[in-house]
């Protein structure tokens, strides 16, 4: 298999508490990997470790992306290299205009790739085309980043960023939490649109509902800071019925 990201024996702590305890995971390019596990297992911690969040201190192990270790890489560099996290709880930033923010991010990426930057008009056209598909109101252009957004609007805004930035590895942390059925459909449509056989997805959830919309290729069970089982999508109905308690480390 051609792996795009490899996590080996990852040990990481937040504050004084070790959360990841020797986690191994390999992401196959172009596939959809689902990570499932109970609350508090360390799923969000893993996603933060992958994007270089300041809360997380890596104690041991390695994360390689396209063959290079990224553990020492700054968050912005990882983003420019194509790693994207849709946050479980996107932060509100009053005073930073949503469109301005997105254009700054896109142009940083385009510059990094040696492409021309988009001017305001070009960018607006691009942004509007995605807004419609995601069922987002056009005032999302002028509002402050996530400020006063409903739970659904925040998640749609994460997906909007993904669509515009076109990353290669896409980590979705509880993208379905707090979404009504319309929002879930819109968000899933956005995600499925990004599937092109090359992009890789890591769908993190403790609840299988999202997997009815985004078909996974692999299921990984994360428990107590480790991946304890990897299987195909047939594991989903089993987990739904029996929960995580019966799963033994392989």
């Amino acid at each position: 298999m051609s792996s795009v990201m490899k996590i080996e024996n990852l040990q990481a702590k937040i504050g004084d508490k070790q959360i990841l305890k020797g986690l191994n995971l390999e992401l196959e390019a172009g596939k959809v990997h689902a990570i499932m596990g109970p609350n508090g297992a360390g799923k969000s911690t893993l996603s933060k470790a992958l994007v270089g969040h300041y809360d997380i201190e890596v104690l041991d192990g390695d994360i390689t992306y396209k063959g290079k270790s990224i553990v020492e890489m700054e968050a912005e560099e990882r983003a420019l290299e194509g790693i994207f996290l849709s946050f479980q709880h996107p932060v509100e930033i009053p005073g930073v205009n949503n469109a301005y923010f997105l254009r700054t991010a896109l142009n940083a990426k385009r510059k990094h790739e040696g492409k021309e930057e988009l001017n305001a008009a070009e960018f607006l056209r691009l942004m509007k085309s995605h807004l419609e598909m995601l069922g987002m109101k056009s005032d999302m252009i002028s509002r402050s980043l996530n400020e006063g957004f409903s739970g659904g609007e925040k998640k749609r805004n994460e997906i909007l960023q993904m669509l515009i930035l076109e990353p290669e590895v896409i980590i979705l942390d509880e993208i379905d939490s707090g979404l009504d059925i319309d929002a879930l459909r819109a968000v899933s449509e956005g995600i499925n649109k990004m599937k092109d056989g090359k992009r890789t997805f890591l769908v993190i959830t403790h609840y299988s509902r999202i997997l009815d919309y985004i078909e996974p290729d692999y299921i990984h069970v994360l428990k107590d800071g480790k991946v304890i089982k990897t299987a195909g999508p047939e594991l989903v109905p089993y987990l739904e019925e029996h929960g995580y308690d019966g799963i033994e480390e392989e």
């Binding site: 912005e76 990882r78 932060v91 005073g95 930073v96």
Partner: protein, 394 residues
């Protein structure tokens, strides 16, 4: 003459030193307040002794015939140009506040028997450009600004300096807003290291039902202090906003007194301070005084500071002095850092650390910048801020 020669002198000695015959009242006020020193409350964080101890060459003030220009131009304290038809002339100041808190207000008046008088008569918008061209000098001048009854005027104040150093600028306004008038003053100052130091001492009289909007945007290094006294008549309103961005070892800020004299007068004062350098000292020492006569007053005052350097220091001192019960008043001051969660969010989208900081700092400052409704001036302020910010972070 050295300014420190004025220390601990009798009124007679001051009168002789300054040639200030017939101005006994001013001399007396100056002597009773005393030349500022490091113990003077208003000047505590300003290193004022260092500023006043230096020797500055004196300038001779020769009035010029005004050229016609689209803006009022004041070069080294002398007005040289102004818009056609606008009444601008040199005249002795008629109304000096005899109860100002700042000794430099009196020194300014003593040093400037002639002031630049500007009458705003009409619904106008005018730019005043202050230009400084000489090193090692004391530039002192005062401006009297009249806004006629029922008129609505906007003044944009800008400061330009050539490549000078070691100059001290003492200037200030006596502003008079006649009844029912509106005056907006948007001041933008962008200072670089070691060009000049400024002490600006103002008095603003706001007559019945008049509105004053005083917004200052101060960016950069160096030392500048504005000392502001505002007096509000009945139903008068002042809306003061001060945005400060300091780098290097800048020491700057506002010392103010807003005095509610008339009933139903209202005031709003908001300071936002960004301190971005080890030696920076931000100053916001602001008193709101509500006199016995000022029933049903509303006063609101707030200071927020962001420290981008852990050795930076914000001296924020909002104070209320109240002599009546029938009022609504609130004040507060906070100091903090940029939110790491917000910074991380931006960086996780590929935005660099410097750019992310700039975006958050601008977001913090934006509420004040966006109060400047004219988009051209708003852009100008943002651009000036960005250029100073990037310079500090290259």
């Amino acid at each position: 003459m050295n300014l420190t020669d004025l220390k601990n002198k009798t009124p007679q000695e001051i009168t002789d030193l300054l040639g200030a015959k017939d101005r006994e009242m001013l001399v007396e006020r100056f002597v009773s307040l005393g030349l500022p020193n490091k113990k003077s409350e208003a000047y505590r964080y300003f290193d004022v002794e260092k500023v006043l101890d230096k020797r500055y060459n004196a300038l001779t003030y020769v009035p010029k015939t005004l050229k016609v220009s689209d803006k009022i131009e004041i070069v080294d304290g002398i007005v040289v140009a102004g818009p056609q038809g606008m009444r601008i002339y040199n005249e002795a100041c008629q109304e000096i506040d005899m109860d100002h808190f700042d000794p430099m207000y009196y020194l300014g008046h003593l040093l400037c028997p002639q002031t630049i008088k500007i009458e705003l008569d009409g619904d106008t918008e005018v730019e005043i450009e202050h230009r400084y061209t000489q090193s090692d000098v004391l530039i002192n001048y005062r401006i009297v600004l009249y806004n006629q009854a029922n008129r609505h005027a906007t003044v944009y104040e800008n400061f330009i300096c050539e490549d000078i150093s070691n100059t001290l600028v003492l200037y200030g306004y006596d502003m008079h807003l006649a009844q029912d008038s509106t005056l907006r003053v948007v001041k933008m100052q962008h200072m670089q290291h070691n060009h000049y130091t400024m002490i600006a001492s103002h008095k603003v009289n706001v007559a019945k039902n008049a509105h004053a909007m005083l917004k200052s945007f101060d960016f950069g290094a160096d030392k500048a202090l504005q000392l502001l006294k505002v007096e509000l008549d009945e139903y008068a309103h002042v809306d003061a906003g001060h945005l400060l961005y300091l780098n290097d070892d800048a020491k700057r800020g506002t010392v103010s007194q807003i005095v509610h004299v008339g009933e139903h007068s209202t005031s709003k004062q908001e300071a936002k301070n960004i301190l971005d350098g080890e030696g920076t000292r931000g100053i916001f020492d602001a008193l709101i005084r509500v006199e016995h006569s000022a029933k049903y007053t509303k006063a609101e005052q707030n200071s927020k500071a962001i420290l981008l350097h852990d050795k930076a220091y914000m001296a924020a001192k909002p104070q209320l002095e109240i002599y009546i019960d029938e009022l609504e008043a609130s004040h507060g001051a906070t100091t903090g850092q940029l939110d790491p969660k917000q910074l991380f969010y931006l960086q996780s989208r590929g935005i660099s650390h410097v750019e992310a900081r700039k975006m958050l700092v601008i977001a913090f400052a934006n509420t004040l910048i966006e109060e400047v409704k004219d988009t051209r001036h708003q852009e100008r302020i943002k651009t000036a801020f960005e250029s100073v910010f990037y310079k500090a972070h290259q």
